[in-house]
Symmetry: C2
Subunit: 414 residues, 2 copies
Amino acid sequence: MGERIYASYWLETGDDPARAAEVIAGEQSSGTFIALPSETPALKARSGARVEKLEVLDVVAAPSLAGGMTSNTYSRCKLELSWPLENIGPSLPNLMSTIAGNLFELRQVSGLRLTDLELPSAFGTAYPGPAFGIEGTRKLTNVQNGPLIGTIIKPSVGLSVAETAHHVHELVTGGIDFIKDDELQADGTYCPFDERVRAVMRVVNDNAERTGKKAMVAFNLTGDLDEMRRRHDLVLAEGGTCVMVCLNSVGLVGLRELRRHSQLPIHAHRAGWGYLSRSPQLGWDFAPWQKIWRLAGADHLHVNGLRNKFSESDESVIAAARSVLTPVMASAPMIAMPVFSSGQTGLQAADTYAALGCADLIHTAGGGIFGHPSGVAAGVAALREAWVAAIAGVPLTQQAERSPALREALGFWQ
Amino acid sequence: MGERIYASYWLETGDDPARAAEVIAGEQSSGTFIALPSETPALKARSGARVEKLEVLDVVAAPSLAGGMTSNTYSRCKLELSWPLENIGPSLPNLMSTIAGNLFELRQVSGLRLTDLELPSAFGTAYPGPAFGIEGTRKLTNVQNGPLIGTIIKPSVGLSVAETAHHVHELVTGGIDFIKDDELQADGTYCPFDERVRAVMRVVNDNAERTGKKAMVAFNLTGDLDEMRRRHDLVLAEGGTCVMVCLNSVGLVGLRELRRHSQLPIHAHRAGWGYLSRSPQLGWDFAPWQKIWRLAGADHLHVNGLRNKFSESDESVIAAARSVLTPVMASAPMIAMPVFSSGQTGLQAADTYAALGCADLIHTAGGGIFGHPSGVAAGVAALREAWVAAIAGVPLTQQAERSPALREALGFWQ
C-alpha cells in the first residue's frame, strides 16, 4: 500500500459529524454532491480520501459561520483525513488544492480550520527546504551562540536612501547582527531598491572591513519573478547576505523559484497571515502552513513575539516558533529560524528562551533598541545582555549590575 | 500630485473609529506602534496612507473576532484608505503586502474585510490582463452567442486515462463546448497529465475533424513553474485550446509567469476561496480579489452558481460574476469570463441571464448533463435549449414543447 498524506482539521458541522466527515473526504477526492456510478468501490479504495479519526469535542447551539445548513445543534470535532500520495504526487501546489481547496465552503461546514499536516517522505525529496537555515545563518553572521540581535528599519516606508543608510550606519557601528526592511519597503520612487542596496551595503561592507563583523541585511525583494531574480543578483554582487520576500504576496511558485535561484538565505515574511488565521473557526493554523513554506525553501519565518502589539496570544506565538523548529519529517528536517518581532525588548528574552528551550532565533526590536537613552549601540548591547542573562538563568536586575547599557534599558523597556 | 491606490474595508473596532483608522493607515505606511521623530510631517505627507472616508454603520456590544482590545462597544464602519503609488510602484505582489498585509492582526481590529480596490492606470500598463478573455474564448470555441455549455470530468480524481477519454468522447459527440478537469486532477499516478492530454486531445481532435466543432478542454496544469510550462507546451502541441490553474495554489508569481509563457486561455480556479472569504468579518470580498488576478492574466474566473451546493448566497454569486465583467479600469478593461458551476442545470439559466444581463459566461453542469435519461447529447442539448429560452425570454415549459431533450430534462432537473 502506498504512502498517504494526513491532514487534521477542527470542524464544526450542523450535520451528523460522521456524514459531514465523509462529505468532506468525498469532495476533496473522488466524490461529488451526487452518487456517480463511475465512482466504483475499486476507484474509491484507490483514490478516495479516508476519514482516519473523528472525535466530537463539543456541541453548541449556534453556528460559528453562517451560510451553511441549519440545525438545532452544531458539533465541534477533531477530524483527520488522509489521501493516497498517488492522487497528486509530491506537488506542493496540488497539495494546497487537496488539503485546503473547496472544503471550507461546504454547506455541512459552519467552521473548518486546518490544524496539522503530515507528509510522505517523497515531499522531502522533491522539495529543497531551506538552503541555509540556522547553521547557515549563524555562519554568515558569525553569531555562534544566542539569538541574532536584530531590528527593522522604520519608518516602514518613506525614508530616502541616504536616511536609510544613516540608520544602518548607526546600527552596524552599534554592533547589530541583523537588519531587515519593513515589508512595505520594496522599490518605491523615494527609496529605489537598487540605490538602497548599494548605499546600505557600502555602509555594511565598510563596517565589516573595519571591525570584522558583517551585519546581515534582509532586503525585501518581493516582486514579479524577474524583478526578484535581478534584485537578488544585485544584493549578492554588493556583498549582501540575505533577501526577504513576502510569502502571501508572491505565492508558492514565487518562493520555489526564488529558492532555485538564490544563493542567499531567504527571510520569509508572513504579511497577510491575519486573513488566513484571525478567525479561530476558519482557515489555517500556523503549524501546517509553515511546513509548506519550509519545504519550498524559507530559511527564516516570522512568528510574532511574546506580549506583542498585535492580537495574537503568547501561547500561539510559542506554538508557531516551536513548529518552525520541529522537523518537517525525520528524513528531511528542514529546520528554519523563527523571527520574533513586534513590541520586543530584552524583557521578553527570558520567557522566550524558557518557552522555546533554545536561542536559535532572530530577535528584532525597534523602539527597544532605538529608544535607548545612550544610543543605538547601548540598545543593541542591552538586548544582547538580556539574552546572556536569559540563557544563564540570571535575573535581569542581577545582570544589570555589571551592564550599564542593560541597567539603563530597564528604565525605558516597559 | 501623484496617483494613488484606493482600498475600501469593512472595519469593526473597539477603539475610537477615527483613531483605529489612523492606526491602520499608519501601520500600512510610514507609521508604527510608537511615534518616531524620523516620521516627519514631510515624510508622512509624501508616503503616508490617508484615511479618505470613514463612516460608522453600526455599533455592537461584542467583538466579531477575539484577541483584540476590549471595549464596551464595537463600531462597524466603512473605511477607505489611499496610498501614494510612489510607495510601491505598479507591483501586484507589493500591492498585496500594502492593502492586505499586517493589518488584520491589529489589536484595534475585531473585524476587517477588504471590500473594494481602485488602482492607478500604471497597473493597467504594467500588467497584461487576460490574453483571450470573452472574445478570444468565443473565437477558439466558435460559440458566437449564448454561454459556453460546459462540464467537469467526475469523479474528480481516480479515473484512468482511458475512462477519462471515454467520458470526453461522450461529451464531444454530444456537442459540448467546454470540459474541465476537476481541480484535484493534476498529474497523479493513475491518470498522468501527459497521457491524459494525449488521449483526450485524440478524441477531441478526431471529433473536430468529423464535425468541425472543437470542444475547449481546460487541463489542470497546476504545479511548479517548469511543470506548468512543460504541460502547457504539451497541451498546445496536442492541439488543446485551454489550460487551467488553481490560483491560491500557485500564487501571483505562478499566474504571472504562466501568463507570460502561455499561448492559450487561462482558466482560473479559486480553490481555497473559502478560507479567504467564509467569515463575513474577515478577509476578502471577491471584487478586489479577482481584480488582482485579472491584471495578472486570468481569462476565466470561477464564481460558483445560483442555488449552488455550497454555502454562498445567490446575491454573492451574482456580485462576483458582475465584478468579473466590470472593467478593471477604463484604460484597461481586462474583462474575464465568469464560470458558473456547482449544482447547475438549465433551471438556473433564466435567473442567471436576468441577473447578469448577458450570456458571456461558461455554464458547467455535471449531473445536469450526465443524468439525462436520453444520454449526454440530450443533456447538452437541454442545457443549451434552456439558455435559448432564457435569452429569448421564453418560459422553459414553453421552450420544452419544441425540444424533446429539454422536456425530458425538466423531469430530472430539480
